[in-house]
Subunit: 243 residues, 2 copies
């Protein structure tokens, strides 16, 4: 359709990078593009921490569940949902922040995610590749301590960036006919069998027929188990979302 | 830097559109680009509802706080964080979803937001413009009823799209030196005064010196007041985030 659409449709997670470093200028361009995304009422409730310290890289890679690319990627960014800025702003105006609303948690989570997706797209347009690291939510308190994050800031995901040294196949995604509904939410689930076939074929082709796997088997295994059960307490302690 | 970066940096909210309609093909391309964004463990926890019904458009415009562009834009999409799909998948595999984790709420909120930002970028690359409508969280239960959303689905924001019939100025954003930190979270707030000056100049230039406003005055007014206090109960009722 056009180059931008092609770029978006070609996204894949990159975890293996060439040794080439990413210039400061490029990183600044990426973060400027991130900051150009929409933001709820101009609140800009996000911050990005560029981790250059090798020891902390190693620690973050371990905290994220042993993801070596967190240690080894040319750039590793930690994206933070940030309402501390709003608290600073209230303080500056001699007001008190009305903190702890779930709505504010949503606003900050959305703001940082919009910015991060722009960062990924900008990076890819510069020939870089990368991957989101949700694993930093495995041990969010330790990540906060390590990176000296105050209350009203939480690390939502990391992002590895660098020049790709792999080109993984793209996993087949749900077709538009399933994700785009008309006028009402559709509870039709008849797509599951067919999508399973597509995913199974994908895995079989990739593994020379040795792997038999489907979308429903993968997702159901994950979603029928408890999920980072520490998050609620962690977020409440940080000032997010008890109201 | 390149066309993609230019596109990202040129984002502005568009609320006024020409009467030209958006073709089905373009909308499909936009949603396909949305679905190419990163997704946590391939869960793809989002759905998009294209609202074509005029009565419902009118109702949604009112529910969002009287935003006429919700009624009048050529396209209005409602983006949903969707764990119903995961419940369907568990059911398909005769498992039970371990529901209600805050972590799952984050996963779905992030997934839908990554997809939505791709949708906005794709739309802009096709010559369209648009605006996110957080106002649908003003009355989320009514939105759910109107669009027949079941449990485990919540409407996070809407998106108006169409061919722009305005070119608003861009509000100055926080500079990269503020949003990008090195190795540790920075609690430095010395930027506030200078950024206020930039924002004040922007408003004065736009209004022929009649409006005197700063970032801290705007954001502090908003953040020192309670914020959509219904969201926590609403989300808990829908199956999101009590654990």
């Amino acid at each position: 359709m056009n180059q931008v659409i092609d770029l978006l449709k070609n996204h894949r997670s990159i975890r293996k990078f060439t040794p080439e470093s990413v210039s400061k200028e490029k990183l600044n361009t990426i973060i400027q593009a991130a900051g150009s995304a929409a933001t709820s009422n101009n609140i800009q409730a996000y911050s990005v921490i560029n981790i250059t310290d090798n020891d902390n890289r190693k620690k973050l890679a371990e905290l994220a569940g042993g993801q070596t690319w967190v240690e080894k990627s040319p750039v590793f960014l930690v994206f933070c949902a940030d309402l501390k800025r709003s608290e600073d702003v209230c303080h500056y105006e001699q007001k008190e922040m009305a903190a702890g609303y779930t709505e504010q948690f949503i606003v900050a989570t959305v703001d940082v995610t919009l910015a991060a997706e722009n960062a990924m797209v900008a990076a890819e347009s510069l020939g870089l590749g990368g991957v989101f690291i949700g694993g930093i939510r495995n041990n969010p308190e330790k990540v906060c301590q390590l990176l000296k994050m105050p209350d009203y800031v939480y690390p939502i995901f990391g992002m590895c960036l660098g020049y790709p040294d792999e080109k993984p196949e793209q996993k087949p995604r749900l077709p538009v006919e399933v994700t785009l509904m008309e006028d009402y939410y559709s509870e039709d689930t008849s797509y599951l069998g067919k999508y399973n076939e597509i995913c199974r074929d994908y895995y079989q082709n990739r593994t020379n027929n040795s792997r038999y796997d489907t979308w429903t088997s993968q997702i159901s295994a994950m979603m029928s188990s408890p999920s980072r059960t520490h998050m609620k307490d962690f977020l409440e302690k940080k000032g997010f979302g008890t109201l």
